[in-house]
Amino acid sequence: MPRSSDTIAALATPAGTSALALVRVSGPDTAGFAQDIFGAPPPPRHALHADYRAKDGRLVDDVVATFFPAGNSFTGEDSLEISCHGNPFIAQTILEDLFARGGRPAGPGEFTQRAFLNGRMDLSQAEAVMDLIHARSERALAAANQQLRGGLGRRLNDLTERLLGALARIEAYIDFPDEDLPKEDRAIVRRTLESLAAETERLLATSHYGELLRDGIKTVIIGAPNAGKSSLLNRLVGHERAIVSAEPGTTRDFIEERIIVGPHCLRLIDTAGLNPAPGSIEKLGMDKSLERAAEADLILLVLDATTALPTLPEFLAKLLSTDRTLVALNKSDLLKSESFDLEIYSNLRSVSISALTGAGIDPLITEITRMVDFFQPTGQDDVIAINARHADALTRAKVSLQAALANLAASGPVELLASDLRGTLAAYGDILGKVDNERMLDQLFATFCIGK
């Protein structure tokens, strides 16, 4: 049996949140990937505790990695197991990074398949795994179908149809040089490709695992000076897993930290206190706080339960909608009585906490999670959540569209242009299912009169 030529990667543990997630990598490039990611070749069959660094150098997570050289691994090929924290965002980032390095998403049961083909499994084991492949693929299929019936499928079908139109315009001149075709119009093709590239890019940008992962859910902490905003931030960072900042060393007006809360990634932003009667410098900081609050996905309003409630600027009060504001009633440790009158904020959800002792932080997290669960990625007209596999395919589609456009600009060979467009088609097809060449021919023969 010939050795596999490519390297595959996939999440080995079920998707969702668990304490740990296992990403499995197998194939000839595994050792090279590991070397690049961890800076040194991993010792065989030894659990290595190391920082996972993405291709652009940024730290993703501290992980436990184990390298299994060919012959002794599950698949019989060079393989790597990366055990990271069980947040899907982290696992997805790692997968995206592996794909960016040249790995590809593993097909259903592909690890098992390789294991079997390399003689690492006997028939009864293989049969047991087959049941699993079946069950899993059914589930994956159901999930995928659901997604494709929605916005993504519609959008991609539209892109595919337009791409086929452009391709038909190219192929007609390749396959029917002897026909009486109208003068070739590459401008139409170029315009189509440009719009396809832009839309593919936009689809990529809606990626749940892209944008939200890169940026996190913007969570702005506001409140009067000394209410305990910074203390709360530190408490949350200490309590939850913080993600080390993406851009270390950049100066920022605000303290910013990322934490993982349940399946979500929060970008916590501390702000200057909101002083009802500010001095001029404070005023400046306050305006910025207000700006921040206006862009926030989620606002954590910290109130000092031991003092009179501050009167907030009218502008801010308007921002405090119930679906994205949570009141943290701080310094509960100093409070004698349990009851507290929230007065004007009584319509908002609130949790009583102590940033000092940590009391009430768990309920606060639960409340945050519940709220964020309702969030959808922002921006687009209709909501499209794409996963890492989709992002991988769309990235390939984008790259080949760009190559095609460069070829057009340089008036390069038309068969290479076609080759790039077929690459794009195949990439769309990886999401939608393979696109039959008949569909291109349908468009071709509908557009051009060809015959003897």
Binding site: M1, P2, S4, S5, D6, G107, P108, G109, E110, T112, Q113, F116, L117, L123, A126, E127, V129, M130, D131, I133, H134, R136, S137, L141, E171, I174, D175, F176, P177, D178, E179, D180, P413, V414, E415, L416, A418, S419, R422, N437, M440, L441, D442, L444, F445, C449, I450, G451, K452
Partner: protein
């Protein structure tokens, strides 16, 4: 009577383009072969236009030549005009095309067949097949002579229940002036083979001296003709080896004395005539049930579907050197004869043209090619092979390549050796057969380069390299030619490597070629190599990135292409296979996992499961032995 008690190894029914290649391939492999045809005066007749090649088809003819087929060389020596299509585009999409002397082509091939050892030709119409225990064992003919054969290759083209239409006029026949094979259809259906109707058409033929060519634009052949056969790897003895036996076949020096084609166009008046008479067209009046191709619309189709196109281009193609007959490319129709006359006379230069033969449409039976294995053997009836138009294709080249594959595999069947299976990634022949047997077709199937995923790897110049393994395995070329191909390949490999590794000005030679494209300077020694070697080297170097990408894709898929599925594989017994897939697979009986993966409705998880199981059975087999 029974003609022979000792069966032939191979009987080929029908001497069209498919039948001829099948018979030659089988007999050249040393099998005793019988070629039966209803009329041996029409051996290898071009039913439609007098041209071979063109886009995708031209590449296929070169591939056929690389497998020892006869079409390429016959075209070269009976061609009267040669043109390389897409000359301004890259080598992968360049294709040779030739006008042939129709009669010379036919006579030459007939003569070639007559001189071929192990081959017997006989004129008879096959009326039915003889079956025994689910296998074919021979055929019956209209002369009440039965012929016994271990294998039978059916290559009956458009003749099965052929019905021709000219307006309301109907005539039975596979081609104008020819017969219709009627009882063979029912003999096939009785064996469980499903037939359906397709339709194609052909334009009128005109008398040259009644044409005013001064009103037309001339289209000349290339000054430097591109040929179909690989002359550089053939010794002179190979081109003329039959002549050495004392016979002289018709033919001339390839590319000599080329003739011209002529271009004219339809007029507003043509459009008017067509529109006014649309209801009289056999195609529009509902006379025809068979499905015609999307790509070959009749003139009535053109005016209806492309109503805003004011005129349509027409080519007048000479049918030969020794005839004054012209073919009107672009004017296919099933309108009544009187309308055809008006139609022709509305065209500049054809005002006084005389029709020698009318245009007509023909309907015929074809057998769904999904009923075949990729070896072209029937899944229903063992030892029975199908090739050519009967498989739903259209075109001489498409027919010829299938003929060769069926001929070779009939011999393999007799000898109980593995069939020659040509993969999609090897060339257009592979794409054609794979499309036919896994996807089937609803219209007459014609090859386009866009059907191939790896088009860039299929440049016509590389055909011999791509098919070398098959040629060697099945002994399809002379030892001398194999040696020459291997030497040529070594040179190409050497030079590609040399150019990539050695420095010229500002980078390697290869860099310079990729940068300067056509104007690039080459090392002197490479310039002294033959043009085919040089061209291939420059192609591989200049398209290196793209070729490597396609090559990688091929390699990625080649693993599953090589995994054979046992013929008796029990799909319903497979745990975990979805019912839908299981039914489809049981029906299609794919030969390889690669083929299985292309069947619609079979998903990757199904393939994973099969892969594991098939691997397991192979493993068990090993344990047992």
């Amino acid at each position: 009577m029974i003609y022979n008690e000792l069966p032939f190894d191979v009987i080929v029914c029908g001497a069209g383009h498919a039948g001829v290649e099948a018979a030659l391939a089988a007999s050249r492999m040393g099998a005793s072969t019988l070629l039966l045809s209803g009329n041996i005066d029409t051996i290898a007749q071009m039913s439609c236009n007098p041209a071979i090649g063109g886009q995708a088809k031209g590449q296929m003819v070169r591939e056929l030549d690389a497998l020892g087929g006869e079409m390429a060389i016959t075209t070269d020596v009976t061609g009267i005009q040669f043109r390389l299509l897409n000359e301004s585009k890259g080598p992968a999409v360049q294709a040779p095309r030739a006008q042939c002397d129709k009669k010379a082509y036919q006579f030459r091939l007939k003569h070639t067949l007559e001189l071929q050892p192990n081959l017997q030709i006989f004129q008879a119409t096959v009326t039915g097949l003889l079956y025994k225990a689910g296998k074919v064992v021979g055929c019956q003919t209209n002369l009440d002579i039965d012929f016994l054969g271990q294998t039978v290759v059916v290559t009956t083209g458009t003749f099965l229940r052929g019905l021709m239409h000219i307006g309301q006029n109907k005539n039975e026949g596979g081609r104008l002036g020819d017969f219709s094979a009627k009882s063979l259809s029912s003999s096939l259906t009785e064996a469980g083979i499903q037939l359906e109707r397709l339709k194609t058409g052909t334009p009128p033929r005109l008398l040259g001296r009644s044409i005013d060519f001064s009103k037309m634009e001339e289209q000349k052949g290339d000054l430097q003709p591109t040929f179909f056969a690989f002359h550089d790897t053939r010794g002179p003895e190979e081109m003329f080896h039959v002549e050495q036996s004392g016979e002289r076949r018709i033919g001339w020096a390839p590319g000599s004395e080329q003739v011209s084609c002529w271009m004219t166009h339809t007029t507003a008046q043509t459009a008017e005539i067509v529109r006014a008479n649309l209801s009289k067209s056999a195609m529009y009046s509902g006379e025809i049930v068979g499905v015609g191709p999307r790509y070959c619309p009749s003139i009535e189709d053109k005016f209806v579907r492309f109503a805003d196109k004011p005129r349509h281009l027409l080519f007048l193609e000479p049918e030969g050197r020794s005839t004054n007959e012209y073919y009107v490319n672009g004017l296919s129709t099933s309108l009544p004869f009187d309308v055809q006359l008006d139609l022709v006379h509305s065209i500049p230069g054809l005002e006084r043209a005389q029709l020698l033969r009318p245009a007509y449409a023909v309907e015929y039976d074809f057998a769904h090619p999904t009923q075949l294995f990729p070896s072209l053997e029937s899944k229903n009836v063992e030892n029975l092979f199908f090739a050519g138009q009967i498989n739903g294709t259209s075109g001489y080249e498409e027919a010829a390549v299938q003929g060769l594959v069926a001929g070779v595999n009939a011999v393999n069947k007799v000898r109980v050796t593995a069939p020659m299976l040509i993969q999609r990634n090897e060339g257009y022949i592979g794409v054609l057969i794979d499309d036919l047997v896994t996807k089937g077709t609803r219209e007459p199937y014609r090859m386009f380069t866009s059907r191939a995923e790896y088009r860039l790897l299929f440049n016509h110049g590389s055909a011999e390299f791509r098919f070398l393994d098959h040629a060697k395995t099945y002994n399809l070329l002379s030892n001398n030619r194999i040696k020459n191909i291997e030497a040529k390949q070594a040179k190409v490999t050497h030079w590609v490597d040399y150019l990539e590794k050695n420095r010229s000005t500002g980078g390697t030679w290869a860099d310079a070629i990729r940068r300067d494209r056509v104007g690039a300077v080459l090392p002197d020694e490479l310039i002294r190599e033959s043009a085919p070697v040089r061209d291939e080297v420059v192609y591989r170097v200049s398209y290196q990135g793209y070729l490597a990408r396609e090559q990688r894709q091929v390699e990625k898929l080649s693993q599953i292409e090589k995994i054979r599925i046992p013929a008796d594989f029990d799909y319903p017994a497979v745990r975990g296979l979805r019912r839908e897939s299981s039914l489809k697979l049981a029906e299609f009986k794919p030969m390889t996992l690669g083929q299985a993966s292309r069947i619609s409705g079979v998903n990757p998880a199904d393939i994973s499961i099969l892969m594991v199981l098939i691997g397991a059975e192979a493993g068990r087999g090993r344990d047992a032995s």
